[in-house]
């Protein structure tokens, strides 16, 4: 009965995406955290969330954006929930974009990912902009460099998630 109630192909697809997310988080926390150029590190998670939305649709993008945002907020130790809400919106929005406005090709993905990276940088610098008298210039420089250094990893996110989304999950398992 449970077998009939579950959509196994969706469950399998979800497990594959969860595996991609896990790899992205490990990559972010290990390799990318060690790449420091002019004191700034790249981030890959916004691009991965956009990729989930691109190839999985709005709902999948929203769900995995929510999970990614929660984990990202935990790792930042900032005590905020900004990324939780932001990544959900990014994931859902990127799914909607491909449904109504763009194709699923690399150029469109690059544009949407860049916007997501800029939005992420803005939300991360917003507490300093709004609640402290920190000078704007170093904040903007850090946000710009973070977006710039993250750009090469857009391709990794695109091809990685696209490869996973093309795996056939509709075959029945035979024991």
């Amino acid at each position: 009965m449970l077998h009939n109630a579950l959509n196994l192909s969706k469950v399998r697809r979800g497990i594959l995406y969860a595996g991609v997310l896990l790899i992205a988080i490990v990559l972010q926390n290990t390799l990318l955290s060690q790449i420091v150029i002019f004191g700034v590190r790249p981030i890959i998670l916004p691009s991965v969330v956009v990729a989930f939305g691109f190839f999985g649709g709005g709902i999948v993008g929203g769900i995995f954006g929510l999970i990614t945002g929660v984990l990202f907020d935990m790792s930042l130790n900032a005590g905020s929930i900004i990324m939780t809400v932001l990544f959900t919106i990014i994931g859902f929005g990127s799914g909607m974009t491909t449904m109504f406005y763009t194709n699923k090709r690399l150029t469109a993905f690059c544009v949407v990912s860049t916007l997501a990276l800029l939005l992420t940088a803005f939300c991360q610098m917003f507490p300093y902009l709004a609640f402290t008298d920190t000078s704007r210039v170093p904040l903007l420089i850090t946000g710009g460099l973070q977006t710039l250094w993250s750009f090469p990893f857009i391709f990794l996110a695109f091809y990685g998630v696209r490869s996973v989304s093309q795996i056939n999950v509709n075959e029945d398992l035979r024991i």
Partner: protein, 298 residues
Amino acid sequence: MQTFEYAYEIGREVNLNRVIQYLKKKGTGVLIVAVIVAVIFGVSITQGNGKAGALENASVSLAIPSKKSSSGFVGWLQGIYSYMFQFDTLKAENEELKIKLAESQTELRKAKSAIEENKRLRDLFDLSDRHEDLTFEDAMIIDRGNSNWNDTYTIDKGQESDIRVGDCVVDSQYNLVGQVIELGLGWATVRSVCDADMHVGALVGENGNAAMIIGDFALMQDGNTKLTYLTDETQVLEGDAILTSGKGGTFPRNLVIGEITDVRTEDGGQMKYAIVTPSASLDSLTQVFVVKDFDLVE
């Protein structure tokens, strides 16, 4: 042309209607779920008082082995790089350190003699000892933080070692490294002394005038911090040592924070502030000591 424009307008209108319908059908639900999860997550953060919840404990505990291995791998690569390209520099630094060690040993012998004389005089005048007992917990740094917006470290000791949120962290030379801001099982997050959210009461120079160390984002990027709230009487010079004041009971007194490397004036032109370079080698630290308890006995 008019037909095309008409068809384009119809298509746009249909497309917009579909978008609105999709948003109403799916977007509302996703947004509600996101807000609920965010509120629950936010409440757990505020109620935890710095202690990590079960989910965060699990996620960090799972990440610790990979963080340790990547830190170890990077350290190994750095060691090879140092051996190949910095051998001469290291050799010269070694010779310099040997000379400093010899000088320190001479100073130590003099200090021992002074301590014995101090004890004799205290006994003579029946004065009680004044000392500050520090209880330490040693810990290793397993991760240096992966955010561009704060400066934190993860250490491999946590709640199980009786560490509390707010405990200060020092290195082996009693230089201030930072403060514990989050606790988990087997790990803790330490906010660096350079972090933009750091606040420490400080004493300046030989006169011990009071001031405050308040983090600054721009200076944090350079590995420095800001000394501010200087009174008019306070004389600040480059090279002056900055120590913790011990006011408020959060940090023990007389821990070395750093030294002044520059004195500047605020944008308004009236207040001056100083740039402080921490004495702890924050980039190369591997072992730190959490001050779990300290008593000031007069």
